[in-house]
Symmetry: C3
Subunit: 200 residues, 3 copies
């Protein structure tokens, strides 16, 4: 399990860092950047915990997560010019983190006896709503609703997970298939500009 905790942490760092950079672009002060950094990294998980009634919400009980986000915040403020050059590394951290956060939330939903469709919704909320809350606070229409296959990847991963559980009944195989789906779709959206249709 150590490797999973590590990958999830990478995802948190990547969510936090992208939040900090976007906040700096909006010319917020040091405190505003701190809040946006936190909202970006823990917003999705917090909403997940509130919806299923798991309180105090998880980041409040995990001081090492708080330290990690604080460290990311200071790193973003002092070294953002250098860190922004590592764009590819952040893309992969974000993608692996997203896939893990989604699958972990699906498992939380299963533990609450929720219907598979609801579990998929919960996984997608956990993966994506940090960014949605960040955009709401920054007074923009959430980029998630307009741009690419971010949330769709979570939904597809969730569907693959439950299909695979239905046919094989091995949780870890299903998890790997689901994570693979999310990573594959994110990669496709990023490199081949896959996109969803729009309507008038």
């Amino acid at each position: 399990m150590k490797i999973l905790v590590f990958v999830e942490l990478l995802g948190t760092i990547s969510f936090a860092f992208s939040g900090a950079v976007i906040a700096m672009r909006h010319r917020l002060d040091a405190f505003g950047i701190l809040i946006i950094t936190f909202i970006s990294s823990i917003g999705g998980g917090t909403l997940r915990d509130i919806l299923i009634g798991s309180t105090p919400v998880s980041w409040m009980l995990d001081i090492y997560l708080v330290y990690t986000i604080l460290a990311t915040y200071f790193a973003a403020i002092f070294f953002h010019n250098k860190l922004l050059k590592l764009k590819n590394i952040f893309f992969w951290m974000d993608t692996f983190g997203l896939s893990l956060v989604t699958i972990l939330a699906i498992n939380k939903g299963i533990a609450c006896n929720l219907h598979p469709l609801v579990c998929i919704a919960l996984g997608t909320i956990s993966g994506c709503f940090g960014g949605v809350l960040r955009d709401i606070v920054l007074n923009e229409i959430p980029v998630l609703f307009k741009e690419n296959l971010y949330a769709t990847a979570c939904i597809a991963g969730g569907i693959i997970y439950f299909f695979s559980v239905f046919f094989t009944a091995e949780t870890y195989v299903s998890s790997i298939l689901a994570c693979g789906t999310i990573i594959f779709m994110r990669f496709g959206a990023d490199h081949y500009k896959w996109n969803l249709p729009k309507f008038k």
Copy 2:
């Protein structure tokens, strides 16, 4: 009770459909429309459940409600041109649904031993905050705060409910009177342009 479940479902469909149409006008992609459809239909009830601590929130435990919203979403995407001609039908679905959602939430508040004023607030939140959350996510000042007697109708219905309970003690009579008040005020606001005063 069957008829009540049916009327509440009509309200949910109407909230969901209006959300989907507004999201399409904002040129969101298919996923963005899905989210706005859900937020519009279940946002108010979700906030109600979070405030009183009834978790997992109700839509997570009601898979038929989720199916209904999904069906409304697909109907809105594929047939919105035809459905938009049924404007009057949607007005009445929305109005009956709103009155029921409000009274049901008031009863939830009573079951939690909350003060009548707080129950009325809870009813109004349930009826109106789906639309408020939708507008916040879409980056607009909530239409609710500017336009017509939507929320005021919920408040008036709640006041009538408790006055009537105080004088008659028959819950179903009070519920009918309260629903009638809400429907009457919505009709007046729509047809005779009743409105609240503004201040500078």
Copy 3:
């Protein structure tokens, strides 16, 4: 304890009044102003209660608080021209109220066995997020993120509180020191234009 309840009430009144005035400037109708008044005064405490799972949230159980906010709302609507001249009084009500709300939330966090850093975050959320939610609903970038030492004062007060608890172990001395810190920083920010650095 009577004096503390009174000071906290002053803070609530001041949060509510400033919310009402800002809502009137946005030309909302009477209901919109009512909602913004409530969100400004109870938003922070509501978020605090939701995060730690203390439900029904506190304002729902405290009808006198609801009466106080309603009275402030009517006072703001009918006498705002006269009340706005009392700017200094509102500054001090707001500052004292903020310091108390922050310290009370920190104590709630301690009662939940949360880590000091998390308690400080909870205190800051309680003190500041009413205004953040108000600005989000009104479709503005939260003034908190751009302007002055409002939230920083809460954080500083929280740090002083835990340092002082660490060294003296007397809760009431620590509380006084922490409140003093918050009041001092707010005064400095207001009169000497103290501010946080920005980043590009």
